[in-house]
């Protein structure tokens, strides 16, 4: 039976990975949001962050992962983590390409791995989730998928649509490529390819904070891989297939903190010396080489950290006064506009790891990756870009799919009243004023009629704004034909999102003439 563990792991890993590819291919957000949520449920860091955001205590995916790790070791890293599976793919290619250069045992980089973990936790106090933004495997994978894989799919589609006009495919609008986010994703992919081909699962066992943390837990997991010293011939075959470089054949020991339970070693052992078996209720015999320094450091920091109870999500100041809506606001100083559901820029920065799933599935593509608009600690976070499109009044996709709760899921009516910014009109730049012709493009697109056409002069209608009912969707700004050098109407960001007033609606007189009027 245990001989099949490797195959089972492989099938599960491929299923998870395929689900991720489907999830990030959904460029128009047509896949039901609950599918996205189901696929992402077990992602560790997003699940933890979401747990601490308001109204998301049911985000218990990380508990499942913790229990799974306590029971079976780091199976998360070999089957559920998309970046782990991706690395296995590159390692596989390398082994096919250079079959003679097998794998071997390497010492763990203890100082590095625990330092990164401690740094990541400490940094939560000062920079929010920035370190997880940079190092979390799911976030890294998400950015690669959204910025590289999805555009590649789009181009493939468009090429096929062009070559075979009769096919049911049609050209699609591909998300704008942003130099910063594409180079970031491309850079991390290149680095990952290099690390995995040269050092196998080095990222997982030295850099990844999730890997290190689960590694600590797996030291006390119930089931572990063990070498039976009485039958082992120390042939080293197991070592040559171990992607974690954690089998030390000399002392017939497997470093369970680095083992990701890929089970490659079981079928290759001709003596059946490696078995996956229950250890004595978590109290494994301490391996000779193990040092407790890292673990102690980790435990100390965690305790201090929890005592400080400083997950920055709680740092959102609910009483922060609403930004003054002044006429002086200029187009270039209007601030980055966070999507509805982000609560405010502080909340977004404190809980978004920039996986870019919202950007990938946004049907209008109004969501774009930011560069430094939110500041250094908000790098790569999603922002609304009204030069690309505007936020669809009825759509709540980003909040529905967000795995970290950085964009919370809004109720339908709540979304339609959530004010992410307020409209600013520069009448002296407006077509009606400068050209003395009719336009109305802004009002035409406005879902709440916060921009309304009113009689101006010579029977020409001109826009008039009511910021109190504006939700900042950006439709007016997107639709404004003025480019001098920016639209005559635009949205200035609310640092903290508020509820707009409901559009006032009076009943219409519904008299329909009996006779034809002509």
């Amino acid at each position: 039976m245990q001989k099949h563990f490797k195959k089972i792991r492989l099938v599960l890993a491929l299923v998870f990975f395929a689900a991720f590819l489907v999830s990030f291919a959904d460029f128009r957000g047509n896949m039901p949001s609950r599918w996205h949520s189901a696929i992402l449920y077990l992602q560790f860091v997003p699940s933890v962050i979401k747990f601490f955001t308001p109204l998301a205590v049911l985000s218990l995916g990380f508990i499942v992962v913790l229990l799974l790790t306590l029971l079976a070791g780091r199976v998360y890293c070999s089957t559920i983590c998309p970046l782990g599976v991706l690395q296995d793919f590159f390692i596989h290619i390398r082994l096919k390409w250079m079959p003679k250069k097998g794998l071997r045992f390497k010492q763990a980089h203890r100082v590095l791995r625990y330092s990164v973990l401690v740094l990541a936790l400490i940094s939560l106090l000062f920079t929010g989730v920035l370190v997880f933004n940079l190092l979390d495997p799911y976030a890294l994978f998400g950015r690669m998928a959204a910025n590289l894989y999805q555009p590649a799919l789009g181009w493939t589609n468009n090429i096929i649509a062009k070559l075979i006009p009769a096919s049911t495919l049609h050209a699609v609008k591909i998300n704008t490529l942003h130099l910063a986010s594409v180079s970031f994703a491309g850079g991390s992919l290149a680095l990952l390819i290099y690390l995995s081909m040269a050092y196998e699962r080095l990222y997982c066992n030295s850099i990844c904070p999730v890997g290190t943390f689960l590694g600590l837990l797996s030291k006390i997991s119930l089931f572990k891989l063990k070498i039976n010293p009485s039958s082992c011939t120390q042939c080293g075959k197991c070592q040559s297939v171990c992607k974690s470089n954690c089998i030390n054949i000399k002392n017939m020991h497997i470093d369970e903190s680095r083992c990701v339970n890929c089970f490659n070693c079981i079928p290759i052992c001709s003596e059946n010396s490696i078995t996956y078996k229950k250890s004595a209720i978590g109290l494994a015999k301490k391996p000779v080489t193990s040092s407790d320094g890292g673990r102690r450091l980790f435990l100390a920091t965690t305790t201090a950290f929890l005592a400080a109870k400083a997950l920055p999500v709680f740092a959102v100041n609910e009483n922060k006064s609403e930004e003054e809506h002044e006429d002086k606001i200029c187009f270039f100083s209007r601030g980055p506009i966070a999507p509805p559901g982000a609560i405010g820029i502080d909340h977004l920065k404190s809980s978004c790891v920039a996986c870019h799933l919202c950007i990938a599935v946004c049907p209008t593509k109004v969501l774009q990756p930011s560069f430094l608009e939110y500041g250094f600690t908000g790098m790569n976070l999603p922002k609304m870009d009204f030069a690309v499109n505007y936020c669809n009044y009825e759509c709540r996709k980003c909040g529905e799919v967000c795995p970290t709760g950085a964009i919370v899921k809004l109720e339908k009516e709540q979304k339609k009243l959530t004010q992410v910014g307020k409209v600013v009109l520069r009448m002296n730049k407006c077509i009606v004023e400068t050209e003395a012709t009719a336009c109305g493009s802004c009002s035409e697109h406005c879902p709440t009629q916060a921009v309304k056409m009113v009689p101006y002069y010579n029977g020409l209608p001109a826009p008039e704004i009511d910021p109190s009912i504006c939700i900042g969707c950006g439709a007016c700004e997107y639709a404004c034909p003025v480019t001098d050098p920016h639209p005559a109407i635009f949205v200035a960001a609310n640092t903290l999102h508020v509820l707009a007033e409901k559009p006032k609606q009076e009943a219409l007189e519904t008299v329909v003439e009996e006779e034809f009027p002509f």
């Binding site: 062009k162 209008t364 669809n392 759509c395 050209e435 012709t437 109305g440 002509f518």
Partner: protein, 306 residues
Amino acid sequence: MKRRDFIRTSVGASLASGALIGTGALNEAFGSPANLQNSYDLVAIKGGEPDTMFMMAIAELGCMGRFVKKGQTVVVKPNIGWDAPPERAANTNPKLVGKIVEQCVKAGAKSVTVFDNTCDEWTRCYRNSGIEKAVKDAGGLVVSGNDQSKYRKISLPKGKSLKTAEVHELIIQSDVFINVPVLKNHGGATMSLAMKNLMGVVWDRGFWHKNDLHQCIADFATYRKPDLNVIDGYNVMKRNGPRGVSVQDVVNMKYQILSADMVAADAAAVKVFGLEISDVAHIGLAEQLMVGTSKLDTLSIKRISI
């Protein structure tokens, strides 16, 4: 070319053209009523459901067979501009669009294709307007209007402000063009009607807004006149158009206007809405460009109340 080949080709060609004339005559004889000369310039109908009103009105114009011949390609252009449900009347009524498509299919059309270059995200507009389903159920095809590679540059020699435009290839290539706007208020253009609806077959609308919207609407109307315009006045958005805020903007007027003349149809629709023809500048401008006539008293109009 050898003499023999030349004769063969010319004989073939004349036979073919003869056959074409022949089928045309047959269609005239059997596909439509004999009293075509007495057909109306405009049919206005009120008081019924969108599909029933269409069936009664089109019968007065000589049934769909007069507009759509066997084997022809048809493009139907409703207003699908907004991600809004049918009751909001921001888009053409799906029952009407479905009925028109069904009638075209019945008349023997080779294909009936429906599209709009929407304002909101197109897949959501197509789905939530109910039009996508109605068209598919009726045997038609919906295609994206959001693919710039499907738009071709055309020139408008009669245009004053708008000299060129990028037009969807379906409008250029289809044998029959049926325009199905929804009657509604419009913040910029005062009213959204048949001529305004054609903004949805071009790619760059921003240019129109920048360069005298009313003149551009009139200019574009000189390009290809639809073979039939059906103005949907079943649910009418009386204010906050063209998008509307809620169903409170909508009045159930149960009207429908059919005409091959866009100017006449728009003029009648303005009257139904409760405005004067002169309130909508592009109607007068289009009349000056000889697109059609807004003098309703010079036309033969069939009025039907259900």
